[in-house]
C-alpha cells in the first residue's frame, strides 16, 4: 500500500469530540430519559460505547447501548456483499417510543444510515431517530444529515477516511488516505 496517509484526529481529539457529542445529545434531548444508543457495526459500535460512557459520567445512570449490523438491509445484495459473513445485531431492549441515537464512524453516501433506519423501524416505532457521527466527509447520495458531528472533513471521492481502533476497541486515530 503506497497510499499517502494524513492523521485527521488523534485519540485525545476523538475523546474530546465524543465528550462534546455526549453534551449535545443531553442538551438537545433535555437529559437521558428515553435515550438509547445504537452503534452501527463495526466502527459505530465502539463509538456508541464511548458516548454512553461520557453520558453516564455527565448525568449519572446508564444509557442502553445496542448494535445493529446493516448487511441484510443493504441495497447492493447482488454484488460482493454475500461473499462476506453477516454480523450480529444485538438490541436486547424495546425501541418503542424511545429516542434512538444512531452512531456511526464516518458519514459518506448516507446509504448505510438509510439501511440502519429501516432496521430500526423493524424493531418497533421509535419516538425519534437521531444521528451522531465522528466524521462527516460529504458526498451524500441520499437526503440524510447528521444531528451530531465530531468533525466535518471535506474530501474527494478518491480519498478514504478510516477510523482506527486498537485491540481494546478504543479509537486511536482518524486517517485520511489519498
Amino acid at each position: 500500500m503506497t497510499a499517502e496517509q494524513t492523521i485527521l484526529m488523534d485519540g485525545a481529539g476523538i475523546k474530546r469530540a465524543l465528550t462534546r457529542i455526549a453534551h449535545e445529545i443531553l442538551e438537545h434531548n433535555k437529559g437521558v430519559a428515553d435515550i438509547v444508543l445504537i452503534g452501527i457495526r463495526s466502527g459505530g459500535e465502539f463509538l456508541a460505547d464511548g458516548i454512553a460512557q461520557q453520558i453516564s459520567i455527565i448525568e449519572g445512570g446508564a444509557v442502553p447501548v445496542g448494535v445493529v449490523d446493516i448487511t441484510l438491509y443493504r441495497d447492493d445484495c447482488s454484488g460482493q456483499l454475500p461473499h462476506h459473513p453477516v454480523g450480529k445485531t444485538e438490541i436486547p431492549f424495546s425501541l418503542e417510543a424511545k429516542k434512538v441515537i444512531l452512531v456511526d464512524d464516518v458519514l459518506y453516501t448516507g446509504r448505510t444510515i438509510r439501511a440502519a433506519m429501516d432496521a430500526m423501524m423493524d424493531f418497533g416505532r421509535p419516538q425519534s431517530i437521531q444521528l451522531a457521527v465522528l466524521i462527516d466527509r460529504g458526498h451524500r447520495e441520499l437526503p440524510i444529515r447528521a444531528d451530531y458531528v465530531g468533525r466535518n472533513v471535506p474530501t474527494s471521492q478518491k480519498e478514504n477516511v478510516q477510523v482506527v481502533f486498537d485491540k481494546m476497541d478504543q479509537p486511536i486515530e482518524v486517517l485520511l488516505e489519498k
Partner: protein, 310 residues
C-alpha cells in the same frame, strides 16, 4: 475473514472449512431475526426461489420456504404430485422450463444421488441441495453443526457417534464431511448390512462393531432413521431386533457423557431407533435442530446470491 465463493451449495464435501464456518457464523447472526416481532428483513427482495421437491418432506421444505420469506424473497413450491413429472417430463426439461420463468435459486430434493450436479450444468441460477438420494443433505449437516456449536461453543475435539442406516443416509454423509473438516471425531455404528464399505476413508471416522463402542463417552449421539422406503426388506430381520441392538434407550444412553446431546434428523420412528423416553428427555436437542434449520437455510440462500468468486 474468509469469503464465501460458491454459486451452488450441493455438498459439504465441496466447501472449505472456512466456508462452512462462515455459513454457521452468518446463521448465528440471522437467528436474531427469528425472535423479532417482525420476522422479516428486505435482503432478497425481488429474488425468486423455487422449491422443487421430488421426494416427500415436511421440515426441510417448510424451513426453506420460511427462510426465503423471512429474507423477503418470493418462494414457490413444486411437488411431484402436482407437477408435470408425473406426466413423464425429464428433470432436464423441467429445469429448463422453470428457468424460463427466471428464478434466482432452485432448492431441490431428488431421489437420485448427484442429480444437482447434473442440474447445475444445465441452468444459470443457483442450485441448493435439499437432499439427493443417499449422497448429501448439506442444510441438515450445517444445522447439526450449528446445534452442536450452541452447546459446546466449538466443534474441534468432539466425539460424535452416528448410529443407524449409514448406507442410505445422506444426513450421515453431510455430517461426516462437516464434522471431520471442523475437527470432530466421528464414530459410526449400525448393522453391517447398513454400513458402506470404505466409509472410514472420509477422514477421522471410526467404524464400530457394536453400538456401545460408538456411544461410549460420546459428546453427541446422532440417531438416524431407518429408511424403510429406500432399503429392501433384506437389510434387517425386523424392527424389534434392530431396536434391541441399535436403538437408543435409557440404559445405553448412560454410556455417553452425562451431558451428551441426543440428536435426530427426523422424522423419528419412536420405539425403533429411539425410545420415547430419550426423544422427549432433557438431553434431546431434536427441536433445537429444527429451530436452527431456518437460520441455517437463510444463511445458505443469502450467501449463494453473491455468485461464484474466482
Amino acid at each position: 475473514m474468509a469469503e464465501f465463493k460458491q454459486k451452488h451449495i450441493i455438498a459439504l464435501r465441496d466447501l472449505s472449512k472456512e466456508e462452512i464456518e462462515l455459513l454457521i457464523s452468518s446463521a448465528e447472526s440471522m437467528r436474531e431475526i427469528n425472535s423479532r416481532d417482525i420476522k422479516k428483513v428486505p435482503t432478497l427482495r425481488g429474488k425468486t426461489i423455487i422449491n422443487l421437491f421430488y421426494e416427500a418432506s415436511t421440515r426441510t421444505r417448510t424451513s426453506f420456504e420460511i427462510a426465503g420469506k423471512r429474507l423477503s424473497a418470493d418462494t414457490v413450491n413444486i411437488a411431484p404430485s402436482n407437477s408435470s413429472a408425473t406426466k413423464g417430463e425429464t428433470l432436464s426439461d423441467t429445469a429448463l422450463n422453470l428457468l424460463a420463468m427466471k428464478p434466482d435459486i432452485i432448492v431441490m430434493r431428488h431421489a437420485v444421488s448427484g442429480s444437482h450436479y447434473f442440474l447445475a450444468n444445465k441452468v444459470s441460477c443457483s442450485i441448493i441441495n435439499a437432499g439427493d438420494g443417499a449422497h448429501e443433505h448439506p442444510s441438515q449437516g450445517l444445522l447439526d453443526l450449528l446445534t452442536m456449536k450452541d452447546k459446546f461453543g466449538r466443534l474441534d475435539g468432539l466425539k460424535v457417534a452416528i448410529v443407524g442406516d449409514i448406507t442410505h443416509s445422506r444426513v450421515a454423509r453431510s455430517d461426516i464431511q462437516g464434522l471431520t473438516k471442523l475437527g470432530s471425531s466421528v464414530y459410526l455404528a449400525g448393522p453391517p448390512t447398513m454400513m458402506p464399505p470404505g466409509v472410514e476413508k472420509l477422514g477421522d471416522v471410526t467404524v464400530c462393531t457394536t453400538m456401545n463402542e460408538a456411544i461410549q463417552d460420546a459428546d453427541v449421539v446422532m440417531m438416524l432413521r431407518i429408511q424403510q422406503e429406500r432399503q429392501g426388506k433384506t437389510l434387517m430381520p425386523n424392527a424389534r431386533e434392530y431396536s434391541r441392538y441399535f436403538g437408543l434407550n435409557p440404559n445405553n444412553i448412560k454410556l455417553a457423557k452425562p451431558d451428551a446431546m441426543i440428536m435426530h434428523p427426523g422424522p423419528i420412528n419412536r420405539g425403533v431407533e429411539m425410545s420415547s423416553y430419550v426423544v422427549d428427555g432433557n438431553q434431546s436437542w431434536i427441536l433445537k435442530q429444527v429451530e436452527n434449520g431456518v437460520a441455517v437455510r437463510m444463511a445458505m440462500l443469502y450467501h449463494v446470491c453473491g455468485g461464484e468468486l474466482e
